[in-house]
Amino acid sequence: MLLTINPNLGDPIYLQLVRQIQEAIASGRLTAGERVPSHRDLAVQLTVNSLTVKRAFDELERLGLLTTRRGLGTFVVETLPADVRHDVRTAIINDLGRAASAARNGGLARGEWTTLADHAWKDKDTP
C-alpha cells in the first residue's frame, strides 16, 4: 500500500491517511476483503506515531470501509458502502474550490487555470 505524508497540505496526518486509503478503495487499488498492514507496521513504514495510524483506521472503520477482526488483522470490508466514490468526489471538489479561489485571487485567467489543472493531471500520470 503506497501512502505518503505531505506536511505542506495543511491537513492533519491522520486525515491525509484516511483520504488516501479512501481513494485507494474507491479506485479499486484496495479491494473488498483485502487485508491491510497493521497500524504498527504502517507506523514504522511511514515513520509516524502508531496512534496516528490507529486514529485513521478508527475513522475508516467509522466510515464503514475497514473492519478489524480480532487476532486476524484489519481488512477492507466485504461489502463497500455505495457512497465511497461520492465521498472521494466531495473531497476533490473541496480541494478544487480552494485552488480555484487562489487562482482567481492571484489574477489568473480562466484559460491559464484550465491549463494548470491539465498539467497537474498529467504530472500524476506515472505514480
Partner: protein, 306 residues
C-alpha cells in the same frame, strides 16, 4: 501513575529567569513535543528532570519521585539525549554500549544489537571517528537500551540529513510500538514533531504559552483575505487576535488567531459589520506555528498570557 508533574516551576540563572511558573502534568504515556525559539527554556526544562539542575522554586516530580531524593534510582528509569555530545570521543562504540549494559540491570542487549546492525554502526570505531549521524544514533541507543519509562530528547536529530533523521525517528517509533515509553522531544523540526507528537507544549520567554494537540494549535490560526479598502488596519493592529498583516494583490491578507469558521465574526468585530471577507483558510502546522511564535516574540507581555 503520575509520569511527570511540574507545579509553578521557575528557574533563574544569573542572566535572568529561564523558566517561570511552568505547570506540566503527564499522567499517561505519550509523546510530547517541546518547541519554542532559541532561549525559550526547552533545554532548561528537560535538564530539571534527570535531574541535572535544581528548580529555583516550585515542585518537580518525575515518575512519582522527587528527582533529587535518589537521582541514581531515577536515572535507571529514564533516558536522556543532550543536544550536544555528552559522550567521551576517544572510546569505541562497542565499549560505550558495554558500559551502559554493565550500569543498567535491565539493559536489552538483543534490542540494541538489532538496531546497531540495522544502522550499520561499527562498534570497533572510536566515537569520534563515526559520522555525525551515527554519533547521534549511538547516543540514542545508549539512552534506550534499558527501556526507559521516560525518554528525554534534546534536538535528537538536529543538523542531520533527512535520511538519517528518518532512521532516528524510526528507532523512536519502534520503541514506542514495543513499550509505552513517554517521550519528551525538544526540537525545531516541526515536520518531525507532526509525525511523532500527540501533545505540543510551546514555550516563549520561559513561559508555557500552549499545551494541547498540534491540531488545536493549527486550528486556531487562519489566513484571511479581505477586499480592498474594506478594513481599517490601524484599528486592527491593536487586537491580540491579529498576528500579521500584509498586502496581497489588490486586497489585504491578515493572519488571525482564530479558526477559519470564526474569521468572519472576528473581522466584523474588529473592522465593523459588512466587511467583506473574500477567503478564510486554515494553515499548515509550520506556518501556524511561525505566526503564533513570531507574534509572541514581538510582545513579551502577550507571551505571559496563557
Amino acid at each position: 501513575m503520575s509520569i511527570l508533574s511540574l507545579r509553578n516551576v521557575s528557574r533563574r540563572f544569573s542572566g535572568g529567569e529561564a523558566l517561570s511558573g511552568i505547570d506540566l502534568e503527564v499522567d499517561r504515556p505519550q509523546v510530547i513535543g517541546l518547541v519554542g525559539r532559541n532561549g525559550a527554556g526547552k533545554s532548561t526544562l528537560l535538564r530539571l528532570l534527570p535531574p541535572f539542575i535544581h528548580a529555583s522554586s516550585g515542585s518537580v516530580e518525575v515518575l512519582g519521585m522527587d528527582p533529587w531524593a535518589d537521582p541514581i534510582a531515577l536515572r535507571a528509569r529514564l533516558g536522556y539525549v543532550a543536544d550536544h555530545d555528552a559522550v567521551p570521543a576517544g572510546v569505541r562504540g562497542s565499549d560505550l554500549l558495554a558500559l551502559c549494559a554493565s550500569v543498567y540491570p535491565r539493559w536489552d542487549v538483543a534490542l540494541i544489537q538489532t538496531f546497531q546492525r540495522r544502522l550499520g554502526i561499527d562498534g570497533n570505531r572510536l566515537f569520534s571517528a563515526l559520522s555525525r549521524g551515527q554519533q547521534r544514533q549511538l547516543a540514542l541507543l545508549m539512552a534506550i537500551g534499558h527501556r526507559p519509562e521516560l525518554l528525554l530528547l534534546d534536538e535528537p536529530a538536529g543538523n542531520l540529513d533527512p535520511a538519517v533523521r528518518k532512521e532516528v525517528l524510526g528507532i523512536i517509533i519502534e520503541l514506542l510500538n514495543e513499550s509505552g515509553t513517554t517521550v519528551i522531544i525538544a526540537t525545531h523540526l516541526l515536520s518531525d514533531l507532526e509525525r511523532l507528537a500527540e501533545r505540543l507544549v510551546i514555550l516563549s520567554h520561559g513561559r508555557k504559552v500552549h499545551d494541547g494537540s498540534i491540531e488545536d494549535m493549527t486550528r486556531q490560526v487562519c489566513r484571511v483575505e479581505v477586499a480592498p479598502g474594506a478594513i481599517d488596519l490601524g484599528r486592527l493592529a491593536h487586537s491580540p487576535l491579529l498576528l500579521a498583516q500584509e498586502p496581497h494583490g489588490l486586497g489585504t491578507v491578515i493572519i488571525l488567531a482564530c479558526s477559519p469558521s470564526e474569521a468572519g465574526a472576528v473581522v466584523a468585530g474588529l473592522a465593523g459589520p459588512g466587511t467583506v471577507v473574500l477567503d478564510a483558510q486554515g494553515m499548515t502546522f509550520e506556518d501556524a506555528f511561525i505566526y503564533r511564535t513570531r507574534a509572541l516574540a514581538a510582545d513579551p507581555v502577550a507571551a505571559g498570557r496563557p
